[in-house]
Symmetry: C2
Subunit: 77 residues, 2 copies
């Protein structure tokens, strides 16, 4: 993959981080996924190594966990 | 300020995150500070709101804490 993927769950911490990340990386370089809404993408995020959101999966596959908003378990409800 | 500042302490988590951040944001857009060595910059980092490293201070002043490497207290020793 050539784009980064930013996973979040719609919380205020996530939204704030989203704006910062999009500004820093450029909106054309990052796909934003709200896994609070798009729950069908949770397995993909977990497989990528996302342990909490917000998180940014870099093009090289590394996962950068940003702050600590909500655990994956919380998002699953 | 127009550049982001990436603070780290030389740990392996930090160095890995550093490479990702520099790749994503672009090396001309981020100043990398190893506060494990440049301890004189710790007060500045704390004032910016850095609670742990690695952390990225965005140009708008927001602090993005990335993963959790070492607490500021640990770096101060």
């Amino acid at each position: 993959m050539s784009k980064s993927i930013f996973y979040h769950a719609g919380c205020s911490v996530c939204v704030s981080a989203e704006h910062d990340i999009v500004n820093l990386v450029g909106k054309d370089n990052v796909e934003v996924v709200n896994i609070g809404e798009a729950t069908n993408r949770i397995p993909e995020a977990e497989q990528a190594g996302v342990k909490s959101v917000p998180a940014l999966v870099a093009p090289n596959g590394n996962v950068l966990h940003i702050n600590f908003g909500a655990s994956m378990e919380d998002v699953k409800g």
